[in-house]
Amino acid sequence: MNIIETTGLGRRYASRWALRDCTLSLPAGRLVALIGPNGAGKSTLLNIIVGLTAPTVGEITVLDGHPAGSLAALDGIAFVAQDMPLYRNLTVGDMLHLTRNLNLSFDTAAARLRLADLGISEKQKAGKLSGGQRAQLALSLALARHPRLLVLDEPTGPLDPLARHEFMASVMTAMADEGISVVLSSHMLAELERAADHLVLVANGRIRLNGPVEDLIDSHRLITSATARSDDHAGWEVIESSSTDALTHRVVRLHDPTMDLPPGCESRSVGIEELTLAYFRNGAAAPSATLTGASR
C-alpha cells in the first residue's frame, strides 16, 4: 500500500520550476528520506504533500487516495515544518491545548507524559525553549494527533548531535509503536544511514533516484579497474567516475545486481552517503528521466 502517489507533479514559482516531473509512489509504514542539497525542491515537495502548496501541474493523492490538503488528508497527516514554527508567546501547556482544539483527536495525556519524560515544563513559554526542546515539543504535538503519516521538514537541521540523536530515536520509537509512516527531508546523510528504509534523491527540482534502501545498495557498486581497460559496459550505468593514470574508480548502477563483473574489475558495495554524493556531484550531467524511470 502506498501512502503517497504523485504523477507528473510540478511546481513553478514565477519562471523557475522548484519541482518538476515528479512521479513517486511512496510505501506506507516506512521511513522515507528525501535527500538533496539546499534549494533542491525538498521543501516544495513536502509542502505539496501536506497541502500548504498547490502543485502547478500534476496529481497527488495521500493516505488511500485523498487529495493533498483535503480535510481527510489534513486529519491524517502531522507536519513538523522547518525551524518548528510555534507561537512563541504561548506556554507549552497552551500549545497543547491549542493543538487539541485544532484537531478532531488529540491524545493530551500521551503528549503530557512525553513532555514530562523530556523534562519540558508546561509553564515554559514556547519561545524560551532550547532548539532541542522546541523540536521535541513540535514532535510531541504532531505525535499526539496519532497521525498515519508524519512529515518532517529538515527536523534535525538546527540541532546539536545529541539532540539530533534523541529526536531521531523518538521518531523511530513512534514508528515502531504505532506503525506510522514517516517522510522526512534532510541533508544530514550520516543519520539516515541506519534509519531510512526508502530513499528519494532530489536535485535541481527533479527526482534523481528513488527506491528502497536495500535495493539501492544492492544495485550500486564502486568498481575499480585499470584505466587502460575502463571501457563502458552494457550491464551498468556510470554515475560518477574518477581516474588516475593507473586506476579508474566508478560508482555504477548495475542493471542486474546479480550480473557477473567483467574480468580485471574489483568491486565493493557503497553506503548511502557515498552513493548520494556520487549522484549529487554528477547532478547536472545525469539524465534524470532514465534514472527515475528505472527506479521503480
Binding site: 500500500m1 502506498n2 502517489e5 511546481r11 509512489s25 509542502n47 501536506v50 497541502g51 500548504l52 502548496t53 498547490a54 502547478t56 496529481e59 493523492t61 488511500d64 487516495g65 485523498h66 480535510l71 481527510a72 489534513l74 486529519d75 497527516i77 502531522a78 507536519f79 515544518a81 522547518q82 525551524d83 514554527p85 510555534l86 507561537y87 512563541r88 504561548l90 497552551d94 491545548h97 491549542l98 493543538t99 487539541r100 482544539n101 485544532l102 484537531n103 478532531l104 483527536s105 494527533r145
Partner: protein
C-alpha cells in the same frame, strides 16, 4: 496505483466551532483587552468633557434674558470652548480605521510573517475553518464595540448638537455614530485582513489598510455622503444649522448666476468676498446688508441641504455599502486563502 482508484466515501466530521472559539480567544485576548482598554480611557475622557459641556449648556439655557451681557458672555464662552471638534475629535474620526486596521492587519500577516501558518494550516481543522473562526468574531466584535463607542461620542456631542454648533450629519459626527461607525470599523478590519494576506507582513499590511481606509473615508465625506439622497433645496435664508449644507448658489429669474458675477456685484456694494462662499447672515440695522441688497435686486439665494431628519436613512445607506464592501473584501480574502499556493 490502486490507492489512486480508491476514492474515500467517509465524510469527515469537522472540528467543532466551540473549540475554535477557545483558540481565537486564547490567541487574541490581548488584542481584545488592549482595544477595550484604549476605548475605556477615551470613554472616561469623553464622559468628563461631556459633563462639562452639559453643565455649561444648562447654565446657558437657564440664563435670562438672552440678550443680557452675562448670557452673551456665556454663549460666547460655550461656543469658543466646545464649538470645534479639536484634536480629540479628529482622532475620534480616524479611530474606526485605526482600530480596524490594527485588529485586522496582523490576523493573517503575523502567521505568514513568523511562519506559524505552517503549523496552523496543517492541523486537522483546515485553514478555511481556522480563518473563519478568527475573521467572523473579529469583524462582528469590532463592529459591536464601535457601535457602543459611537453611542458615547453621540452622548458627548449632544449639547453641541442642541446648541446648533454642529449637526448629527456633520463629517466629524456622522461616521463615528449610529450604525455607520460599525461599517467603518468593519471596512478597516477587512482591509487589514486582506492586506495582511497580500503583504504577508504586519506593518505594511496595517499601513496599507489604514491608508486605503483613510482615502475611502475622505471620499465618502467629500463626494458620496452628501449625495446618498437627492439634497433638498430652499431659498430660505434662515435654514436651521441642524441640517447639513451641501451647496449654495444664486439665481435670477430662475436662471443660475455664476459665482464670479455675484462676487462682482457684492464687491461693487463694498462687501468682503475673500472666500467663494457667501455667508447666509442677515444683519439687522447699520450699513445696508449686501445680501439683502442682492435680494432686493431680484436675485435669489438657493441652498441645497440634507435635512437632519434623514439621519437614520443615511446611516443605513452608509452602513449598507460599507458592510457590502467589507464582505466583498473578506470574500476575496477567503478565496485567495483557499487557492493560495505559498
Amino acid at each position: 496505483m490502486t490507492a489512486l482508484a480508491a476514492a474515500p466515501s467517509i465524510a469527515l466530521r469537522p472540528v467543532p466551532w466551540k473549540r475554535l472559539a477557545w483558540v481565537t480567544w486564547r490567541r487574541y485576548r490581548f488584542t481584545l483587552i488592549s482595544v477595550l482598554g484604549i476605548l475605556a480611557v477615551l470613554t472616561v475622557s469623553l464622559f468628563i468633557a461631556g459633563q462639562h459641556a452639559r453643565t455649561a449648556y444648562e447654565a446657558l439655557q437657564t440664563c435670562h434674558p438672552k440678550s443680557a451681557a452675562n448670557c452673551r458672555y456665556l454663549d460666547e464662552t460655550f461656543h469658543n470652548t466646545y464649538g470645534s471638534i479639536g484634536f480629540l475629535g479628529t482622532f475620534l474620526m480616524l479611530l474606526p480605521g485605526i482600530l480596524g486596521a490594527f485588529a485586522g492587519g496582523p490576523l493573517l500577516a503575523r502567521e505568514l510573517e513568523t511562519g506559524t501558518f505552517r503549523y496552523a494550516w496543517t492541523q486537522g481543522v483546515g485553514r478555511m475553518r481556522w480563518a473563519a473562526a478568527l475573521v467572523v468574531p473579529g469583524a462582528v466584535g469590532i463592529a459591536m464595540i464601535m457601535v457602543s463607542f459611537g453611542a458615547v461620542i453621540t452622548w458627548r456631542e449632544q449639547p453641541l448638537i442642541e446648541y446648533g454648533a454642529t449637526t448629527r450629519l456633520d463629517v466629524a459626527i456622522f461616521p463615528v455614530s449610529g450604525l455607520a461607525v460599525a461599517g467603518w470599523a468593519m471596512a478597516g478590519f477587512a482591509l487589514g485582513v486582506l492586506a495582511g494576506l497580500l503583504w504577508r507582513r504586519v506593518l505594511p499590511a496595517v499601513a496599507t489598510a489604514f491608508g486605503v481606509w483613510f482615502g475611502l473615508a475622505y471620499l465618502a465625506a467629500k463626494d458620496l455622503r452628501p449625495h446618498y439622497l437627492a439634497p433638498l433645496q430652499t431659498t430660505s435664508l434662515n435654514l436651521s444649522s441642524h441640517n447639513f449644507f451641501v451647496s449654495q448658489w444664486w439665481t435670477k429669474a430662475g436662471v443660475r448666476v455664476s459665482d464670479s458675477e455675484i462676487n462682482r456685484i457684492l464687491q461693487a456694494l463694498g462687501a468682503d468676498v475673500s472666500g467663494n462662499q457667501v455667508k447666509v447672515h442677515v444683519s439687522s440695522g447699520g450699513a445696508p446688508d449686501p445680501i439683502r441688497t442682492l435680494i432686493q435686486q431680484g436675485y435669489t439665494q438657493v441652498t441645497s441641504y440634507q435635512p437632519v431628519s434623514r439621519y437614520w436613512t443615511m446611516q443605513w445607506i452608509e452602513f449598507g455599502w460599507l458592510a457590502a464592501f467589507s464582505l466583498v473584501l473578506l470574500g476575496a480574502t477567503f478565496w485567495l486563502l483557499h487557492r493560495r499556493t505559498g
